[in-house]
């Protein structure tokens, strides 16, 4: 098991180096003038030349790549051509709001998706099973941007129940000191006992969170249902039932335990897709996360920022794959 994990980690690092190399080469191949971007839209040729020297753009490409990798190992992702700030600083500001949204959406997916799947499997082919399946299919297939706009229309414009967007009300920001411990606003306000901010933050996160959570809820519910139905038809379940064990005991102790592995893997791997969905939802809900940063960086060809986000996303995905692999490895039926 230990060897297997080490092998997977090494493989992950090789993949990450591949991602770094490819993104670096692509970034340098795109027709663009980073030096002109660095000094501003109406720079003089002299300013552009000075910027080239400052940014090391006159060095041969392999030297530039080597410098980038060396800096990377020291946690330096370069400076954004647009904001002039270290990319790491930009990421530090933008990752926590995105992370908060995704984590809460996944928590919601677990709390709602698994019971929905169990309930659906248990009530197979009954009305409520059909309703639950319809919901799951809808949740997985509805375009996220459509759901976001629909929620805004209903819950902000028509009912006035939730805010249109943002992470916290301007009034709250003006009147209260916003706690900054981890950058996760809900968590920070909880640990500092700042209930006004907690309430305001929860009020703001509900709509974007549900929008993002719909896809993993649907996915988890469908996965749990089908896996559970398959397990419930296994001989050992029939045997357990024939021993006279209670249905609840059979379901929770024997059946569900054997379905959770696959559900967890699906949930973990869907995080990559959810992250991309989050970028879109953030734009619609004016959520100050990574999505807005990525969108603007791509449009303006701010390649240090694009590379920074790509490396972060790749590293996250590799880590999640590793977790999924470990979950699989923990199943005694699997041989490594």
């Amino acid at each position: 098991m230990g060897k297997y994990v080490i092998r997977r980690i090494l493989l992950g690092l090789i993949v990450l180096l591949g991602v770094v190399t490819i993104t670096f080469v692509i970034a340098r191949m795109i027709p663009s003038d980073p030096a002109a971007k660095w000094v501003g839209p109406r720079a003089t040729p002299q300013q552009i030349e000075e910027a080239k020297i400052e940014l090391g753009l006159n060095d041969p490409l392999p030297v530039q790549f080597a410098n980038y990798v060396i800096d990377l190992t020291q946690g330096n992702l370069g400076r954004s051509l647009r904001t002039h700030q270290p990319v790491v600083e930009d990421l530090k500001a933008y990752i926590p709001p995105t992370l908060e949204l995704v984590l809460l959406a996944f928590l919601m997916a677990i709390i709602l998706g698994i019971p929905l799947g169990i309930y659906s499997a248990k009530m197979k082919d009954k009305f409520l099973d059909h309703a639950s399946r319809l919901f799951s299919i809808g949740a997985v297939s509805l375009p996220t941007f459509w759901v976001a706009l629909f929620f805004q229309l209903i819950f902000y414009r028509m009912l006035g129940m939730f805010p249109l967007g943002g992470r916290i009300s301007a009034e709250t920001t003006i009147l209260y000191e916003i706690p900054r411990v981890t950058g996760l606003l809900i968590f920070d306000s909880m640990i500092t006992g700042n209930w006004v901010i907690l309430k305001d933050a929860l009020w703001h996160i509900i709509l974007p969170c549900i929008t993002i959570a719909l896809y993993p809820i649907g996915l988890v519910a469908r996965m749990t249902r089908s896996a559970l139905l398959e397990v419930l038809n296994e001989d050992y379940i029939t045997a357990a039932r024939s021993y006279g064990l209670k249905e609840k005991f059979v379901l929770w102790r024997y059946a569900l335990k054997n379905t959770l592995g696959s559900t967890a893997i699906v949930l973990t791997l869907s995080l990559g897709y959810t992250l991309v969905n989050t970028f879109l939802v953030e734009t619609i809900f004016s959520w100050p996360g990574l999505g807005n940063y990525v969108a603007t960086s791509v449009v303006t060809l701010d390649y240090p920022s694009i590379m920074g986000v790509t490396i972060f996303s790749a590293a996250t995905y590799i880590l999640l794959n590793l977790i999924a692999d470990i979950i699989i490895a923990m199943d005694p039926r699997i041989r490594l």
């Binding site: 795109i30 027709p31 663009s32 003038d33 971007k37 000094v39 501003g40 839209p41 109406r42 720079a43 003089t44 040729p45 300013q47 000075e50 647009r82 904001t83 002039h84 700030q85 270290p86 600083e89 930009d90 500001a93 933008y94 709390i111 709602l112 019971p115 929905l116 309930y119 248990k122 805004q152 902000y156 414009r157 006035g160 129940m161 939730f162 805010p163 249109l164 943002g166 992470r167 009300s169 301007a170 009034e171 920001t173 003006i174 006004v196 309430k199 305001d200 929860l202 009020w203 509900i206 609840k248 379901l251 619609i284 004016s286 100050p288 807005n292 603007t296 449009v299 303006t300 060809l301």
Partner: protein
């Protein structure tokens, strides 16, 4: 069944939690009434309110924030078309336009409590010049800045330049506290600032939101009905900005689609104000590549463009006809200048005169992707050109790709026509003629690739008189534009307008095209 009951229970708990939260929400932000009590003005901006908060280097949207925190020596009044005192009370210029002397306003305090004086003016401009970032080039003519006495500062130039206008610039002309001169870019971007403006920087959310609060010691004083706090927030979706205005949650916003504007104009709770901008849309002909190196062929191309249809149908009246390079509302704009209009017969005449065989002729037009108006007028132009036997290939690209292609050393590998908009850095026509008309060794923005000695001489003379003799300068700019129009170097497509939408109780706002997108909140107030 017990399992089902549990699930229902979870749903009920969540519903209760949601309703509790809704209750909190309603009490904490009750739209208009809460805002009225605290006098908060909310500006829903279509993109990031700033990219860089360093007043020396910011050269993007940040002017909408910085002009409320920092002030400049002078400010351009677009209604009266004159530059007016701000931090400078008065100024003089030597006869040769080489020395400018500014008398600085006394009794002005920076947000950190320090006093404004000639030394702080010198240090601020020197910092901007030294950094060589953003729009710092506006000070290129300045050789040295000398402190004459505590409240008098002198600018000595290498060549004549309109320093009174430059000092009113929308970028790179901000005066900052001497305490902040040595701070680096990161310090400013951590949310620190110290200007003399009416508002202090209270809080920032990177790339998303800026909150300003009233500076009690502002030199011009305060009235009771002015706004105490300003929220400038990115709201990227047009429909979201519209909803915020309709619900009374935002006080001001701009950049709406034609459909949204139509609906907003019918809403009695908001006021729509259409305003001229100094941004004009120009097509650049590649004059170094056949057949556009032929002036008669360029004239034919100019006559084939659907000017009126673009303004009335595509822009729905939110643009005005261009007369030469200089947009409406800026000195140098002259509606007596000749202008091409859509006339296919004339176009055919000029094609014949040019001797260009249009049979199978293909031309490539490039512009930045995502601009709906460009896409639509390009399609109309394509249809018109088809009637002349010319096939127009329309290529939408990222701006970097458009620019890189336009700067290609080989004229044959460049596009035939590139569409771009242009606006000035300060209230002067100089940047159009300096950047778009004057010959360039390394291509930057002269994307018609004009190399005309006569025009170069005229531009040089214009630079000189723009600083010292306005009437002579106006004659010269007319002459430059006449030649440019006659040679048909450009397609003068339209001068753009913008529509501001405001809450009906948000008063006092006057758009100023010299500071695009800026709301000088100090002059706004809440009124029934």
């Amino acid at each position: 069944m017990r399992l089902a009951s549990k699930s229902i229970g979870v749903i009920i708990i969540l519903a209760i939690l949601a309703s509790v939260l809704v209750g909190c929400g309603d009490s904490s932000t009750n739209g208009q009434s809460t805002q009225t009590e605290k006098r908060i003005a909310y500006y829903a901006f279509n993109t990031e309110p700033y990219i860089d908060l360093d007043p020396s280097s910011e050269y993007s949207n940040g002017l909408i924030v910085l002009h409320n925190i920092y002030e400049t020596l002078t400010r351009y009044d677009s209604n009266e078309e004159v530059v007016k005192p701000l931090l400078a009370e008065s100024w003089d210029v030597s006869e040769d336009g080489m020395t400018w002397t500014f008398r600085i306003r006394e009794g002005v305090k920076f947000h950190d409590g320090s006093d404004l004086d000639a030394e702080s003016v010198k240090k601020s401009i020197d910092r901007t010049k030294k950094l060589q970032m953003g729009a710092s080039f506006i000070w290129d003519s300045v050789n040295s800045i000398n402190v004459i006495d505590e409240y008098t500062v002198e600018f000595v130039l290498d060549y004549p330049a309109p320093i009174d206008l430059i000092a009113s610039g929308s970028y790179a002309a901000f005066i900052m506290s001497p305490e902040t001169i040595d701070k680096d870019n990161q310090w400013f971007n951590e949310g620190n600032a110290s200007g003399t403006g009416p508002y202090k920087l209270q809080k920032i959310t990177k790339g998303e939101e800026v909150i300003l609060e009233k500076f009690d010691d502002y030199w011009n004083g305060w009235n009771d009905n002015q706004y105490t706090n300003i929220v400038i927030k990115k709201v990227a979706e047009g429909s979201a900005r519209r909803q915020l205005l309709e619900k009374g949650d935002a006080q001001i916003a701009a950049s709406f689609s034609v459909t949204d504007l139509k609906a907003l104009r019918e809403n009695t709770n908001v006021v729509v104000k259409d305003a001229d901008t100094w941004r004009n849309v120009i097509g650049f002909f590649n004059t170094e590549k056949a057949p556009l190196d032929n002036p008669d062929f360029r004239r034919a191309m100019a006559y084939a463009f659907p000017y009126e249809e673009t303004i009335t149908e595509i822009k729905e009246g939110l643009a005005s006809k261009s007369y030469g390079l200089i947009p409406k509302g800026l000195w140098g704009h002259d509606e007596n200048l000749n202008q091409y209009s859509f006339d296919l017969e004339k176009a055919k005449e000029y094609i014949e005169k040019s001797g260009v065989d249009t049979n199978g002729l293909k031309l490539e037009m490039t512009f930045t992707s995502g601009t709906e108006a460009y896409r639509n007028f390009a399609q109309l132009y394509k249809i018109n050109l088809q009637q002349l036997g010319i096939e127009l290939e329309i290529r939408e690209m990222n701006w970097d790709n458009v620019w890189e292609k336009a700067k290609n050393p080989s004229p044959q590998d460049r596009q035939d026509i590139v569409i771009m908009n242009w606006w000035p850095d300060y209230a002067s026509p100089l940047s159009w003629v300096q950047s778009l008309v004057r010959s360039e060794e390394d291509i930057l923005f002269n994307l018609s690739y004009i190399k005309d000695q006569n025009l170069d001489n005229l531009v040089m003379e214009f630079e000189k008189y723009a600083a010292t003799d306005r009437s002579k300068a106006e004659e010269l700019i007319k002459e430059i534009q006449s030649e440019v129009i006659d040679e048909a170097y450009f397609l003068h497509i339209y001068d753009d307008k913008t529509s501001w939408v405001m809450d009906k109780n948000f008063k006092g706002f006057e758009p100023n095209p010299a500071y695009e997108g800026v709301v000088f909140f100090y002059y706004t107030y809440y009124g029934e």
